[in-house]
């Protein structure tokens, strides 16, 4: 009898799926949408530019059809002139089909160009190249440049921030509360900042990719994953609570910096930003405070921390900037930016929770937060980030 019962259960699990498949078949076969639209109704055409790069004497653009209907690319215009072009995957694009257009155009460095793709119905899709600059190709020179930028804005500032450790380790209890609150302030800023950037990048994605949903899910996923990892680490007692928390903060900041590196690299590559000295200084100052955030939980434990461990933390927090800059510079697409910024946001949210628990360890959390040092720390942390952030913005 139990065997039969379980068979019956499987049948009930499958029945809705079978019916769903049948329903889909009927919909595809009868085409109710076509009946509504009629014969003369034009197709819904949607093309999204994915990556547009400039080579000497040529514009190369990858376009994606993220509309429901097939799109046929008929002609290309650059700056209001028909121009010849070639494609690698043809001119007929099905749903989510993509092709790369190569337009031999004598673009002018430093000027603006508008690339227009015309479909078979004459519908134009435009992409503006704000400032024409040759797109870096993977070469030692550009690898070097991006590595240097990553060092300046990621690795070195975080490392410098870590050097506060000996000073922090001697702080009073009130000083320590201030410090932890300061860290929360810093991270809260990064949380908001990363969320804004991520949602902004998600709006650039083709609609079918549902950027906003992707961002939220990736952030939530990262949050839960880090909760799980930190619980695991604590259960195994592979280190002190402070050490685990420091690693978590470093990972969160590292992910955030990866997203930041992506943004810098792509802006540099696409000629959308001139990466001036002021901007680099801004990021450097901004990110120094991240080092402070990493070592705060260690300082609270008042234990000696080997220099090697400090270096490890610095690398976890800073080095992803370099990887981000590489990826952003050479193979940028907004979907990477959305994913990494989201993961960074999720990670930072998790870390904020961890630190908040440390602050409130002795008292109830609500009471812990109303103390003067904590309030001052929160405000100071947010203010420091805000002011240094002005240099970046």
């Amino acid at each position: 009898m139990p065997v039969e019962l379980s068979r019956g259960r499987w049948l009930f699990a499958l029945l809705p799926l079978v019916l769903l498949a049948a329903l889909l078949a009927v919909i595809v076969w009868s085409g109710p949408a076509d009946a509504v639209r009629g014969d003369g109704y034009p197709p819904i055409e949607r093309l999204t530019f994915q990556r547009v790069t400039l080579e000497p004497g040529a514009i190369v653009a990858t376009v994606l059809n993220d509309g429901p209907d097939a799109v046929s690319i008929a002609q290309v215009q650059v700056d209001d002139a028909f121009w010849t072009f070639a494609t690698d995957k043809g001119q007929e694009l099905g749903h989510l089909g993509r092709t790369t257009l190569r337009v031999p155009y004598p673009w002018v460095e430093g000027e603006t160009h508008v690339l227009r793709v015309l479909t078979s119905t004459g519908t134009p899709f435009d992409h503006e190249i704000a400032v024409a600059v040759e797109t870096p190709t993977i070469s030692m020179r550009f690898l070097g440049v991006f590595t240097l930028i990553g060092l300046y804005v990621g690795v070195l500032p975080v490392a410098i921030g870590l050097l506060w450790f000996p000073f922090l380790a001697k702080l009073s209890a009130r000083g320590m509360d201030f410090l932890l609150a300061l860290t929360i302030g810093l991270l809260a800023f990064l949380l908001v900042d990363g969320a804004m950037e991520g949602l902004e990048a998600s709006s650039l994605l083709p609609e079918s990719f549902q950027g906003g949903v992707l961002f939220v899910l990736a952030a939530a996923g990262a949050y839960l994953l880090l909760e799980w990892v930190s619980a695991l680490l604590k259960a195994r007692r592979t280190g002190s609570g402070g050490w685990v928390l420091a690693v978590m903060i470093a990972v969160g900041i590292g992910l955030h910096n990866f997203g930041e590196g992506l943004a810098i690299g792509s802006a540099f590559a696409l000629g959308e930003a001139t990466l001036g000295t002021l901007l680099i200084i801004g990021f450097t100052l901004h990110n120094t405070t991240e080092g402070l955030a990493i070592v705060a939980p260690l300082a609270r434990e008042r234990q000696r921390v080997p220099v090697r461990d400090l270096i490890t933390l610095g690398l976890i927090g800073g080095v992803p900037t370099i990887g981000g800059a590489w990826l952003g510079g050479f193979v940028y697409s907004p979907i990477w930016a959305v994913l990494f910024l989201a993961v960074g946001v999720g990670a930072i949210a998790q870390v904020i929770g961890q630190i908040a628990r440390q602050v409130g360890r002795e008292k109830s959390e609500a009471r812990a937060f109303v103390s003067t040092p904590v309030m001052a720390g929160l405000v100071a942390g947010f203010a420091v980030m805000y002011v240094t952030g002005m240099l970046v913005g």
């Binding site: 290309v76 028909f82 072009f85 479909t119 004459g122």
Partner: protein
């Protein structure tokens, strides 16, 4: 630069269009369905035309289709050509889904204007326009139903040519209608052409003979833009504005026309080879309004 690919000319051939009037591009038996001429007792000709409005998708650049409203399935519509004083009788049938009319430039009584309130020809209805061909010159016809901009730019226009009695000197005659197409309906043209197909005469240069008089009937039916222009490389031409005189008004290599304006241009090719012609608004030229004459010596195979 330029467009990629070719437009198949099975539906509309810009090269044939250049030298076709009164349906001369059709085989005799088919032609008689659309055009008949009957001598009148007073020595004039009665010219009867069958014109119908029909919605049709036309290819305006390789792979680029435009949902046009057409006269007899083509843009520009068929060229109507008569001699000064002839009786014109156009039976116009509206096979489209919107009301349309035919509004001819030239002398005619208000009842034949095709523009006044109540003169719209409803879908499925027929109207007969009848008037004398007057004055001689280069004219045009177009739909005058409101909204006017849309009815014109969708393709309802053509050339109405009236020869002076006794005609003009023999020449290689070419009809050119400057037009543009707003493919996304934002009241701006996405492409321009002479005789509809972008860059058609770049790919198939217009063959002309060195030393032979060439006469161009140039009409501007560009919508949305203030003006259009015609520029010929390496040569000059005589201009007969509106074609209403037999003495040229000026000699130039660039002429500017407002919408609805037209001019007869005469020139003779002095050298063999390719001569570019295009709008001298560079933007229009690069958006499709550019072509080539290919001049060959008389008697050569070309």
């Amino acid at each position: 630069m330029g467009t990629v690919g070719r437009v198949p000319f099975d539906a509309f051939n810009p090269t044939t269009y250049l030298r076709s009037w009164n349906f001369s591009d059709l085989p005799t038996e088919q032609r008689s369905k659309y055009y008949r001429e009957t001598p009148l007792p007073d020595g004039r000709l009665l010219r009867e035309y069958e014109i119908y409005a029909v919605d049709r998708e036309i290819e305006i650049a390789p792979g680029m289709f435009f949902p046009a409203w057409t006269y007899n399935g083509q843009v520009p519509g068929p060229t109507i050509r008569a001699t000064e004083g002839d009786r014109i009788k156009v039976t116009f049938r509206n096979a489209g889904v919107h009301p349309h009319t035919m509004h001819f430039h030239g002398w005619h009584p208000p009842a034949m204007d095709g523009a006044l309130h109540g003169q719209e020809v409803q879908p499925g209805a027929t109207f007969v326009y009848e008037f004398d061909a007057d004055p001689f010159g280069l004219h045009l016809y177009h739909c005058h139903t409101v909204p006017l901009k849309r009815h014109i730019h969708k393709g309802l226009y053509g050339t109405f040519l009236i020869d002076p009695r006794g005609g003009r000197p023999p020449a290689d005659e070419l009809v050119m209608v400057m037009n543009g197409f707003d493919t996304n309906f934002d009241s701006e043209n996405e492409m321009y052409a002479v005789n509809t197909v972008a860059n058609a005469y770049m790919q198939d240069p217009i063959r002309v003979t060195v030393g032979q008089l060439v006469r161009i009937y140039l009409v501007n039916l560009t919508e949305f833009d203030l003006i259009n222009s015609f520029h010929l490389h390496g040569m000059f031409f005589d201009v007969y504005r509106t074609g209403t005189s037999i003495t040229p008004g000026e000699r130039t290599d660039t002429i500017m026309l407002c919408q609805g304006e037209r001019a007869v241009l005469e020139t003779t090719f002095r050298y063999p080879g390719d001569f570019m012609f295009h709008a001298h608004q560079s933007e229009f030229a690069e958006l499709g309004w550019m072509g080539l004459f290919r001049a060959v010596e008389a008697g050569s195979a070309g």
